[in-house]
């Protein structure tokens, strides 16, 4: 210990100006200075700035430890089962490339993700939320034309080279989704051939499902359609219960509210569902399948279109 009031030179040189200033605050001849001289100190607390100033060796060690933790976390994230079916089909290398851009977001009920004609800013990969694809008719009335859950992607138009959304997409079962900025998505689409293939396949599935939905709308009675629709919604949200009011259902299925009351009352009387205060619970999946039209199985089968 040679110092008399001046900055102390630590064993691990060089010492930054900030650290030198913090070291200057240590009492002369005190045990702290001796410990610094002996190289036994990791950090000095700078009372002026209320910061902890680490010595270079300690800083390196902390940085390495943080890097190791990050790498382990990244590895754990990669190994975690992917809850979105489109992402799950990607080879590990492609998914790894995509992962840093994916941001988990919580989508609230009723949130409009894309408006028709507006540019698509993010592509969403739902995990446990369900998004409704709505075609707008006169005024603000919008009719359901498709559902997207963990099996699909919201903003598929971007994969087909269309930058603006052709439909209104609205969250109707709240939950989590992973989203990717549109610019990043376009880059990744060029880089990942499997992602491109999977999205084109999904776009084809969606078109076929939309055709089936139109046929269902024309050919089947509302009670069957409601049963089919409830099954599809619950399947996509991986739950046996959805929170939807009769008014909301009447609106998106484009029927009168009384029709919803009658149809849900009939399904409830057959002990297939329980409906109370906007909460619909499926009591018998099999029974509801039998009560729905054949479109449920057709639409679900289309998902495996290869």
């Amino acid at each position: 210990m040679s110092n008399e009031g001046g900055p102390v030179s630590a064993r691990a040189a060089p010492v930054s100006a900030v650290l030198r200033r913090a070291l200057g605050q240590l009492p002369n001849g005190g045990p702290e200075r001796q410990a610094v001289e002996a190289g036994e100190i990791d950090a000095v607390i700078d009372y002026g700035s209320a910061r902890v100033i680490a010595f270079p060796a300690a800083r390196r060690a902390l940085r390495d430890a943080a890097r190791r933790t990050d790498a382990a976390r990244q590895e754990a994230k990669l190994d975690a089962p992917v809850a979105n079916r489109v992402l799950a089909t990607l080879p590990r290398a492609e998914y790894q490339q995509l992962l840093p851009g994916l941001e988990p977001v919580t989508l609230k009920f009723g949130e409009v993700i894309h408006e028709p004609g507006a540019p698509i800013r993010h592509v969403y990969f739902p995990i446990d939320c369900v998004v409704c694809l709505l075609a707008t008719t006169e005024g603000q009335r919008a009719v359901e034309t498709g559902l997207v859950g963990y099996e699909g992607v919201v903003g598929i138009a971007l994969a087909l080279g269309v930058a603006a959304s052709p439909v209104r997409t609205q969250v109707h079962v709240a939950g989590t989704a992973l989203r990717l900025p549109a610019a990043r998505f376009e880059v990744e689409l060029q880089r990942c051939p499997q992602l491109q293939r999977e999205l084109l396949r999904y776009a084809c599935v969606k078109m076929a499902q939309a055709r089936q939905t139109v046929a269902c709308l024309i050919a089947h009675v509302f009670e069957q359609r409601l049963a089919c629709w409830l099954l599809m919604t619950c399947d996509r949200s991986k739950s046996r219960e959805v929170l939807l009011t009769q008014a909301y259902l009447a609106n998106i299925l484009h029927v009168r509210r009384e029709s919803v009351t009658l149809a849900s009352g009939s399904l409830q009387a057959r002990k297939l569902i329980r409906y109370s205060r906007g909460r619909i619970a499926i009591l018998s999946h099999k029974g509801l399948e039998a009560a729905s039209c054949s479109c449920y199985s057709s639409i679900e089968a289309l998902q495996h279109l290869a």
Binding site: L26, A35, D42, A43, I45, A50, A54, A58, L62
Partner: protein
């Protein structure tokens, strides 16, 4: 790891006072890790279970360290029994640590 407390109710026979220690460290920095290891070895040998150790990470909690007048890390404070004593450094000097803890180091 921001802080860690270890305490035991059962005390060894003849040991009446629990030594309360607080060790300030800077995350997983080398001297801090060494200080934890050295202190744990000393406690295991000399204090058995009659002690209470709290490890405070100053990177997570700089204000607390400042409130308690800590200047550098690693830094060990004996809070109880009185008098309060402090040792700075990686605690590799066992003799100095034992003196601060109020224990007589064995003559080697």
């Amino acid at each position: 790891m921001s802080r860690r407390a270890r305490t035991t109710k059962a005390r060894p026979a003849g040991f009446t006072t629990v030594v309360v220690l607080r060790l300030y460290v800077a995350g997983g920095a080398p001297n801090s890790m060494l200080a934890i290891a050295n202190l744990e070895a000393i406690c295991a040998e000399h204090l058995k279970d009659g002690h209470k150790l709290e490890v405070v990470d100053v990177l997570q909690n700089p204000r607390r360290a400042m409130a308690e007048g800590v200047l550098v890390t690693p830094s060990l404070t004996k809070l109880s029994p009185q008098p309060v004593a402090q040792v700075v450094g990686n605690l590799s000097d066992k003799r100095r640590v034992l003196l601060a803890l109020g224990l007589k180091p064995n003559v080697e």
